[in-house]
């Protein structure tokens, strides 16, 4: 079991998150398409952590459950939180200058998706993709 915590405070850290996710996706034996999907999802969420959460961390885990291998990434910040998760998940919704595809897209690109957020306290998003 491998666990790496990547701090997210600059744009360079978003790149570092992608690199760490790629390393673990390769270790899990993901196909190129599956690697690309989980790295893209992680890139979206890491940018949200930076842009909206005011920075935070990404915890990247290589999962081994008997024969099953997977990669799980948990994004956490102590930012302003999300008032309406339904609204935030809707494609096209943005409070910034984005395309509003990050949360919904990351959900579609993952096998498991969990989000919890409290206004004034912060946000946690967890995605998992299995081989």
């Amino acid at each position: 079991m491998s666990v790496t915590v990547v701090p997210i405070t600059t744009g360079d850290d978003v790149v570092r998150v992608r690199q760490e996710v790629r390393t673990q996706a390769v270790a899990a034996g993901f196909s190129l398409v599956d690697q690309t999907k989980i790295i893209t999802a992680a890139s979206e969420l890491a940018r949200n952590t930076l842009d909206y959460g005011g920075g935070g961390t990404a915890t990247v885990e290589l999962l081994r459950q008997s024969a099953r291998r997977g990669v799980r990434i948990t994004f956490e910040d102590q930012g302003p939180g999300i008032p309406s998760i339904d609204q935030a998940l809707a494609d096209g919704f943005t409070t910034g200058k984005g395309m509003g595809l990050g949360l919904g897209g990351a959900k579609r690109l993952s096998n498991e998706f969990a989000i919890s957020s409290e206004v004034g306290r912060g946000t946690r998003v967890t995605i998992t993709r299995w081989k």
Partner: protein
């Protein structure tokens, strides 16, 4: 600050994206490209993304922005070299890149730009005949570059 090099290739500008783009690099590229389109009168912009292992909505927005600004400046944008895994992922992400033309490789992208330049010449039916002769001369010039 780093900048992405812009090469002139005949009537087109060629940009090869090789590095992980950051916000500032992306907006610098948009600004540099629009300035070069105006300065060179380029009819097309070829953006080679074959080195990119992923395209997220941030890069997608940059490509869409470049395409719309270039169009206003009378230049076509063609994104070339998208990896198959990237294309599959973009669809699931929900990024259709509407308004961004794509081609499999730089050669085909360049052919699209040339074709668009030709049809815009043919489209100017009310121009005097002497002008058209001059333009067909220009066309030979374009072909000579490839």
């Amino acid at each position: 600050m780093d900048r992405i090099p812009i090469l002139k290739l005949g009537e087109a500008l060629l940009v090869t994206i090789q590095v992980d783009m950051h916000d500032r690099l992306a907006s610098a590229l948009e600004e540099d490209l629009t300035a070069r389109i105006v300065a060179t009168g380029a009819r097309g912009v070829l953006i080679d993304i074959s080195a990119l292992e992923i395209v997220d909505s941030f890069i997608g927005r940059m490509l869409a922005n470049i395409a719309s600004v270039s169009r206003l400046l009378d230049a076509d944008t063609v994104v070339v070299g998208m990896r198959p895994a990237v294309a599959i992922t973009l669809v699931e992400l929900g990024l259709s890149l509407k308004g961004v033309k794509t081609a499999l490789n730089a050669e085909r992208g360049m052919a699209m730009i040339r074709q668009a330049a030709v049809s815009s010449l043919i489209g100017t039916g009310d121009e005097p005949a002497a002008h058209e002769t001059a333009e067909s001369g220009d066309l030979r010039g374009i072909d000579g570059d490839f």
